[in-house]
């Protein structure tokens, strides 16, 4: 199994990967609380970006509503915790099931009726917005007044209930992100992964080759949405409060997909690099603007938008492909 995973990966690429991992494991010992929060945010976006990338980057279906799956995961686990005292690790499988089931419904409706491209993207927005407004009026989970997890000052880290200090959350999200990375790597080189790429490149041709495109697109959205749910569980227990206007807001969906698009759609490192760059950029801008006394509301986002614009215009395939060429870590094969 491991031999199969490593097959064809250049040795110095593995070395680099190990180095990055070691740095990420050691860094909390050196970082202050602020840097740690930023790193948590980066890894969070790397994880969600990776999950989104399965649907768009691998199978070629543009989803603009991934906040829905984060929200479902967050609300499911938080509601189970608040109402029934069920801990996050037991709640997570339930959250994944709910999220994947929702992905199945959306995928089934969309792909059965031949909804694709822009229309599919807008369908996903519609479901997310529909749920947001619905949750606003769903009082069992707090409605628009919000759902809150009990908070106390924790001297000890309780990993089982995900109650504790930022360092613990850092390692949890690092483990999730690493697992997602390995899983995507495995998926990309599996039979399913090759089917997805065939569908992404040319769906009629894939169908002509005998691939059941409907089934594999459904599989893609279910894996992608199910995989997004743990990020929601993390979100709920890290932030301790959930509001439909925030958790399910369309900008949340856009934030999720900016990383992989900037980093490189369909690549394994794209979501990770993109998350680092965008979150780093956003926080760095904040720092610079505050130092120069320019932090009027909106200023940071304007610069952020300009940077985004420049990247999309100059590097249409994202930042990772040129970096990969520079580091010479590209595998011989179409998936890169």
């Amino acid at each position: 199994m491991i031999a199969r995973l490593l097959h064809g990966v250049p040795r110095h690429a593995l070395l680099l990967l190990a180095l990055v991992l070691v740095v990420l494991v050691v860094v909390p010992a050196l970082a202050n609380d602020y840097l740690l929060t930023v790193l948590i945010l980066i890894l969070y976006f790397a994880y969600t970006g990776q999950a989104w990338n399965i649907l768009m980057g691998f199978a070629g279906q543009l989803s603009l509503g991934h906040a829905l799956y984060v929200g479902l995961g967050a609300y499911a686990s938080a509601a189970l915790y608040v109402h029934f005292g069920i801990g996050p690790w037991l709640g997570m499988p339930i959250a994944i099931l709910i999220s994947a089931a929702c992905g199945f419904v959306i995928g089934f409706l969309a792909f059965r009726f031949g909804v694709g491209g822009v229309y599919f993207a807008i369908l996903t927005i519609a479901f997310c917005e529909f749920t947001r407004i619905g949750f606003d009026h769903f009082t069992w989970i707090g409605g628009s007044a919000g759902l809150f997890l009990p908070v106390a000052n924790y001297s000890q880290n309780d990993v089982w209930h995900l109650r504790g200090q930022p360092v613990m959350f850092y390692y949890v999200i690092l483990a999730l992100t690493a697992a997602a990375f390995v899983m995507c790597h495995a998926l990309l080189r599996s039979r399913i992964g090759y089917y997805w790429q065939a569908i992404r490149e040319d769906e009629p041709a894939a169908r002509a080759l005998g691939i059941n495109t409907f089934r594999y697109k459904i599989l893609a959205i279910m894996i992608s949405s199910g995989m997004t749910a743990p990020a929601g569980v993390f979100y709920a227990f890290y932030y301790n409060n959930l509001f439909p206007e925030q958790t399910l807001f369309i900008l949340r969906s856009i934030e999720i997909i900016l990383g992989p698009i900037i980093g490189g759609v369909g690549t394994l490192f794209g979501p990770v690099i993109g998350a680092f760059l965008l979150t780093g950029l956003s926080e760095g801008l904040q720092e610079v603007l505050t130092n120069y006394g320019l932090d009027t509301p909106g200023a940071k986002r304007v610069f952020y938008g300009v940077c985004l614009l420049l990247v999309v215009m100059v590097l249409p395939n994202g930042i990772w492909p040129p970096i990969a060429r520079l580091l010479r870590v590209q595998r011989r094969g179409p998936e890169g």
Binding site: I133, D136, V312
Partner: protein, 303 residues
């Protein structure tokens, strides 16, 4: 008993009028929504780029109208054409400079571009005007017309009529003007248009400009009814999407019809359920249309 029944009859007759009034004001607001969506439809129908910064362009127009009114006392309805002209210029330049290189790129790339533009617009407006709502108080803001049991707000009536006027002008342009015909040719058959020697790039820029001009007119009209804040931008983008998809992406009458339908749904939804849940119904309508008639009510069959 009899007394109770009488009161009930009174209530139901009163609420019958209420429904009618709400429906009419929903239709009038919907016409303005339709004009905004018409812009999106023109852009998509010709350039084949989905303008994710559409609502943001709308609030640019709204702020222009508010500034012209508060600083110079100019009525938004009179300023409709100048503002539309300004937005035309913005749209034309945007297509020429930003969007043209993206025409042949994949959808997610175009999407990113427009999102970046949207982020820049919304937050620039936030920097300039702050987060507070700004509104226009015209002298006729509280006037209304009574037609039997029907009471129509003057602002909404003027807004609806202005929207119809602009839409009619646009229809006429596309139907009779040679330039309009050329744009339609471009939309129907790109290669064919190139073969007969049309300057497609210029026509694309023109179409984007026209779409933006629609939004400009709609924006300056809608400040009569709605207060403007920066977060309204993304909300209008979504609204415009719902409308064009319900009406049929790329169909001009469809956009107007969709606007009226969504305006009506929102108004009645606010009355029947709660105002905060009104757009849930619109999304419900959208999902139904996407599933059972993906090309929209008046759209051509998808191929």
């Amino acid at each position: 008993m009899a007394d109770g029944r009488l009161r009930q009859a009174q209530i139901s007759s009163v609420s019958g009028d209420v429904y009618l009034n709400v429906a009419v004001s929903g239709v009038l607001t919907g016409l303005v929504y339709g004009l905004m969506a018409l812009g999106l439809s023109v852009i998509f129908g010709v350039v084949r780029v989905v303008n994710f910064a559409h609502g943001e362009m709308m609030i640019v127009a709204m702020y222009l109208a508010v500034v012209l009114f508060t600083q110079l006392g100019l009525d938004p309805l009179l300023m409709m054409l100048p503002i539309a002209a300004v937005l035309f210029g913005i749209g034309y330049v945007m297509q020429r400079v930003l969007i043209n290189p993206f025409i042949s790129r994949p959808e997610h790339s175009q999407f990113m571009l427009m999102i970046a533009v949207a982020i820049i617009i919304v937050n620039s407006l936030l920097m300039i005007f702050g987060p507070d709502a700004q509104s226009v108080q015209t002298s006729y803001a509280f006037d209304s017309f009574a037609l039997g049991p029907l009471i129509v707000d003057a602002t909404k009536l003027y807004a609806g009529l202005a929207a119809i006027l602009v839409a009619a002008a646009l229809f006429a342009f596309f139907r009779y003007a040679p330039l309009g015909k050329a744009i339609r040719a471009c939309a129907d058959n790109y290669t064919g248009a190139l073969v007969v020697g049309l300057d497609v790039k210029k026509l694309y820029a023109l179409s984007f400009g026209l779409g933006a001009a629609c939004v400009g007119a709609a924006g300056s009209i809608i400040v009569l009814i709605v207060d403007v804040t920066p977060p309204l931008g993304p909300a209008y983008t979504l609204l415009a999407f719902i409308i064009v998809i319900v009406g049929g992406l790329g169909s001009m009458p469809g956009a107007l019809l969709g606007g009226v339908l969504i305006g009506l749904t929102e108004a009645l939804g606010g009355l029947f359920i709660t105002p905060s849940a009104k757009s849930m119904l619109s999304y419900g309508v959208l999902v139904l249309v996407l599933l059972f008639r993906p090309q929209g009510i008046m759209g051509r069959k998808l191929t």
